[in-house]
């Protein structure tokens, strides 16, 4: 035959190369599971002293006293839950409306311009939202919105007290502004995943645009939108910097939105670098653990919902 060199088929070098390669990428990929487990383990381990000392009292206690060594996190839980829920309540209709505007109302050019701009805004770091919140929005709230609310709606428990600017209200607004881009862009994706035939079916029946939205888009996209909202909630609950900068950092439970408050991430941000005792650090760790558990639950729920909607178009390679 020709001068070709016949390669022995039992050349082990290549098998070795593939085995080593597979080992390396397997190790790197596995490290992701390991990282998650280590994070959970560390949070639990470091929280143990506080959990053992306070037990369930930690969740309902309102005393947060590093000097006396007495820690209860209720005020932070309240602040986190209230600010996130209000923000999501305000953000959801606006985001869904904006997403519908982008996909089904705006001329294609306008939609193609707004969508990436909204996504770009989701990339602005939270410390910058906080900067704007504390230096621009809070003074504006203090001077215009809040005095007006006190004067005209002051009889309601929600708008009582002196206008400070930095307040629960400021936190709610800044969170709302921050999560709108997230919910809007996910909702947009979900709406775009609705088959055109669904829309055409509604129009063919003589439906108006709104009726098409109600008949075709909303039922089809409902669980995906819900997933987007829950994901937004997860972001809001874990949001640290912007909230810390505008909420006033005062542990209290007040119905008034004008009063300052405190959230779980904020107390960690403010106190963790300069804890006074092991117990103090452990109490903050437990706050972090609660935050971790809440966000884990929220994220798993949201992922399952979004997966159930978009699974169809992200199938594996054939």
């Amino acid at each position: 035959m020709s001068d070709r060199v016949s390669v022995a088929m039992t050349d082990r070098r290549v098998i070795k190369g593939d085995t080593i390669f597979k080992g390396i990428i397997l190790a790197l990929a596995s490290s992701i599971i390991l990282i998650l487990l280590i994070m959970i383990f560390e949070m639990v381990k470091e929280s143990l002293p506080a959990i053992q000392k306070f037990g369930g009292r930690f969740l309902i206690g309102r005393e947060w006293d590093a000097v006396q060594g007495e820690f209860g996190a209720l005020d932070f839980l309240y602040g986190s839950v209230l600010s996130s829920l209000l923000a999501i309540l305000l953000a959801t209709p606006l985001s869904v409306g904006a997403a519908l505007f982008i996909t089904d109302i705006a001329p294609r050019k306008v939609g193609n311009f707004i969508a990436p701009v909204v996504e770009l805004l989701a990339a602005i770091p939270s410390v910058i939202y906080g900067l704007w919140g504390v230096l621009v929005m809070a003074p504006w709230l203090q001077q215009s919105i809040q005095p007006w609310l006190v004067e005209h709606l002051g009889f309601l428990p929600f708008f009582q007290g002196a206008p400070y600017g930095v307040s629960m209200m400021a936190a709610v607004f800044i969170l709302m502004i921050m999560i709108i881009p997230i919910i809007t862009s996910i909702t947009k994706e979900v709406l775009l995943a609705v088959p055109v035939s669904q829309k055409e079916a509604a129009y063919a029946l003589g439906a108006t645009r709104w009726e098409m939205v109600r008949l075709s888009l909303i039922p089809y996209a409902r669980s995906g939108v819900l997933g987007a909202v829950i994901l937004g909630l997860g972001r809001a609950i874990g949001e640290t910097m912007a909230v810390t900068m505008v909420i006033g950092n005062t542990p209290q439970i007040s119905l008034s939105l004008l009063a300052p408050g405190y959230t779980m991430p904020s107390v960690i941000a403010n106190e963790f670098a300069e804890t006074t005792s092991k117990l103090h650090a452990s109490a903050l760790m437990e706050v972090g653990l609660i935050l971790l558990v809440v966000t884990l639950i929220i994220n798993v729920m949201a992922r399952l919902l979004i997966w159930s909607v978009t699974r169809g178009d992200t199938g594996a390679r054939a």
Partner: protein
């Protein structure tokens, strides 16, 4: 036209108006924030910002040169840790992705991506700051890497999936081992999409503040070692924004503008690579 049809038309008009209104309500505050950053930032930005370190309180002027350097160093180190794990982890998912174990990895990555970054900071604190007996840029970089990994992993996997199977087959049929095929054919074919994911993940960690609070801590001065506390732009913006001094507020705005410009540049570059993907 009967009254039923009229009501339908009115409802349609009303709801359409509401949707337009929602879009406006979404765009307006974001637009205002953007204008403020541009206006305040441009008014405060000077050459000193890039060359000086912050002045003590009461003295005017100063800059964030140490923060810029610190951010760059920590992002670089975080990329060194995070990119290999994210990209090669994605190669694993792409090659052996149909097992339950792979699903567990994907799920873990999604969960990790949803964990508040301040918790990542706390974990980096217990794992690095406590044993090393001091705040350090190294701990900050590790915290940033942990945030980066799931983002890079998932975007890279998406890109690898889009590489036609026929190319892998062509390479394997030539007697090229799997590992060379993965690195030289599959990864290279997906490179522009992977660059997009990498740039987006860098943009994300460049603005992270919370995970640095208890790791890099921040530094008023130049830091010389990765084992010492180090300044970073987002940390400086935070500290200066909540201070009572006008001069520091100005620096914070300038820092915000610089950060936003970096962020948008990274995002737009990423988009460019993303869109040129199909031209190969």
């Amino acid at each position: 036209m009967n009254s039923f049809d009229l009501r339908r038309r009115l409802t349609n008009t009303l709801m359409t108006t509401l949707m337009v209104g929602a879009a406006l309500a979404v765009i307006t505050p974001l637009g205002i924030i953007f204008v403020h950053i541009l206006k305040m930032g441009a008014g405060s930005l000077s050459w000193d910002f890039f060359t000086q370190i912050p002045k003590p309180t009461g003295e005017s002027g100063g800059g964030m040169a140490n923060g810029l350097a610190g951010s760059a160093l920590m992002i670089g180190l975080a990329s060194g840790f995070g990119l290999p794990v994210g990209i090669l982890g994605a190669v694993y998912l792409n090659e052996f992705g149909s097992t339950r174990f792979a699903t567990a990895i994907r799920f873990s990555a999604d969960v990790l991506a949803g964990i508040p970054s301040i918790i990542t900071g706390m974990v980096a604190y217990t794992l690095l700051v406590v044993p090393m007996k001091g705040f350090s840029a190294l701990a900050g970089a590790v915290a940033l890497a942990l945030i980066m990994i799931p983002i890079v992993l998932r975007t890279t996997e998406e890109q690898l999936k889009m590489v036609p199977g026929t190319l892998r087959e062509a390479s394997l049929a030539l007697g090229v081992p799997l590992w060379r095929t993965s690195l030289k054919v599959t990864l290279v074919s997906a490179r522009s999409g992977i660059i997009t994911g990498v740039l987006l993940s860098i943009a994300r960690i460049a603005g992270e503040t919370a995970p640095l609070l208890f790791t890099a801590l921040g530094n008023q001065f130049w830091s010389k070692k990765m084992t010492e506390p180090m300044a970073a732009i987002p940390l400086q913006i935070f500290n200066f924004a909540i201070s009572p001094y006008d001069d520091w507020h100005k620096l914070a705005w300038a820092g915000a503008l610089v950060l936003v410009v970096i962020m948008f540049t990274l995002n737009l570059t990423a988009r460019y690579f993303g869109s040129s993907r199909h031209q190969g």
